[in-house]
């Protein structure tokens, strides 16, 4: 049992990655990865929302009438997202400004609804929790890779620390690549990640 739960957490990192394999959650992944910090916060927020929503829906699964299950799922997800949004506004104000509408848009993030429908509706709470954490982190890992690459090569910084300036790259004629901070570049990078991943398996 324990090894099955562990598998649920680790599978989404590679073989069942929500972004690169299931190609879900692309929209927010393009929008919030221009810098590493919002990417990290978004990853954590989505992980918390998927995990908790999975547990709540899994606990309720036997009482939910199938005909209104999507509405029930939406109510639970929206409640959690508004909670996350409120907490960010109170404790991480700058990040919440940067993430702006994208926190609210977690509600429509296909990964969340996808996991609720495909997993939590038919599985007990503990595996659902593991599945939620796994998928949230699987989404997060891609966000962090993109955020790192885009911030480092687009702005020359990492978490606002001027890496490129410190290693003296500018003095030998290096310049930041403006394309990196545009959303299309995130799509190209996701494409490259998918390519490498498919190539390996």
């Amino acid at each position: 049992m324990a090894s099955r739960n562990w598998k649920l957490i680790t599978m989404p990192f590679n073989k069942e990655n929500p972004i690169t394999v299931q190609v879900l959650g692309i929209c927010s992944c393009l929008a919030v990865t221009a810098q590493l910090k919002p990417a990290l916060v978004m990853a954590i927020s989505v992980t918390i929302v998927v995990a908790l929503a999975n547990v709540i829906i899994s606990l309720l699964r036997k009482t939910i009438p199938p005909r209104i299950r999507i509405i029930v799922q939406l109510v639970v997800v929206s409640m959690l997202v508004v909670l996350v949004d409120q907490v960010l506004k109170a404790y991480l104000y700058d990040v919440s400004k940067q993430l702006s509408v994208f926190v609210g848009l977690i509600i429509t993030n296909c990964i969340v609804m996808g996991r609720l429908e495909a997993f939590a509706m038919t599985n007990p709470p503990l595996p659902s929790l593991c599945d939620g954490i796994g998928n949230g982190l699987g989404y997060g890992i891609i966000l962090v890779i993109l955020g790192t690459l885009r911030e480092l090569f687009g702005s020359g910084t990492l978490l606002s620390y001027p890496v490129m300036e410190k290693i003296g790259a500018y003095s030998i004629g290096y310049e930041n690549n403006g394309l990196m901070i545009m959303p299309p570049m995130a799509l190209i990078l996701v494409g490259i990640i998918i390519w490498i991943q498919r190539r390996k398996s």
């Binding site: 199938p66 005909r67 929206s78 909670l83």
Partner: protein, 210 residues
């Protein structure tokens, strides 16, 4: 598949929504003071930025108290709207800071404009609720705001002459700045905001020396 009656479904949804709204109301009320504090600090940061002081959110309160004083507007439209204006005193330089409120393309836009004793602009800062990033949203950039430095809001006789955002500006003019390409509606909003609010602050611009 188990059958559920209509009555069950209706009661189920009502109960679910009731629980969700209670949870949300409690959190909203509990977190309100912290959120308000953040908003006040952000506004103080913006006012400080208009006189060229970059402050982090934690040091904003202290620097604000040191350089800025809030003043009541005596009468007129601005007073009716509950707005006040500000005076600054930084390293011996003194003047007034006027708050601006207007409408962009998608929602509210606002800003602060700092004037010296001769009513030249020493700094300006703008922000918006939901203008398009990269287009109208550029009004929040330093590059846009810097254009205002050195411009003037009164003519030689001392009456108010608002700055306009235009295409192909006359670089020597004290009353024109470049509009944002691709952000025409937002730029028009900024022009209107400047015209409306500078005129309604006319008395203060004319009479209050600092």
């Amino acid at each position: 598949m188990k059958k559920f009656s209509n009555r069950y479904m209706i009661l189920y949804s009502l109960a679910l929504v009731a629980v969700a709204s209670i949870v949300l109301s409690v959190t909203a009320v509990a977190l309100k003071p912290r959120q308000e504090k953040n908003k006040v600090a952000e506004q103080q940061q913006m006012v400080l930025k208009s006189i060229g002081v970059e402050a982090s959110r934690s040091e904003a309160g202290e620097l604000y108290g040191k350089y800025i004083a809030e003043r009541a507007v005596g009468s007129g439209q601005q007073a009716a709207n509950g707005n006040s204006y500000y005076t600054y005193n930084i390293d011996g330089r003194e003047g007034i800071i006027l708050p601006l409120h207007g409408t962009g393309l998608w929602g509210p836009i606002w800003g602060y404009i700092a004037l010296d004793e001769e009513r030249y602009i020493i700094g300006a800062v703008f922000d918006h609720k939901g203008e398009t990033p990269g287009l109208g949203g550029e009004i929040a950039s330093a590059k846009f705001a810097e254009q205002f430095i050195g411009k003037r809001v009164v003519d030689d006789k001392g009456s108010v002459k608002p700055i306009k955002l235009k295409k192909n500006t006359d670089k020597k003019s004290l009353y024109e700045v470049d509009a944002i390409s691709g952000g025409t509606m937002t730029s028009n909003g900024v022009s209107e905001m400047l015209e409306k609010d500078l005129n309604s602050f006319e008395e203060i611009i004319k009479t209050k020396k600092i």
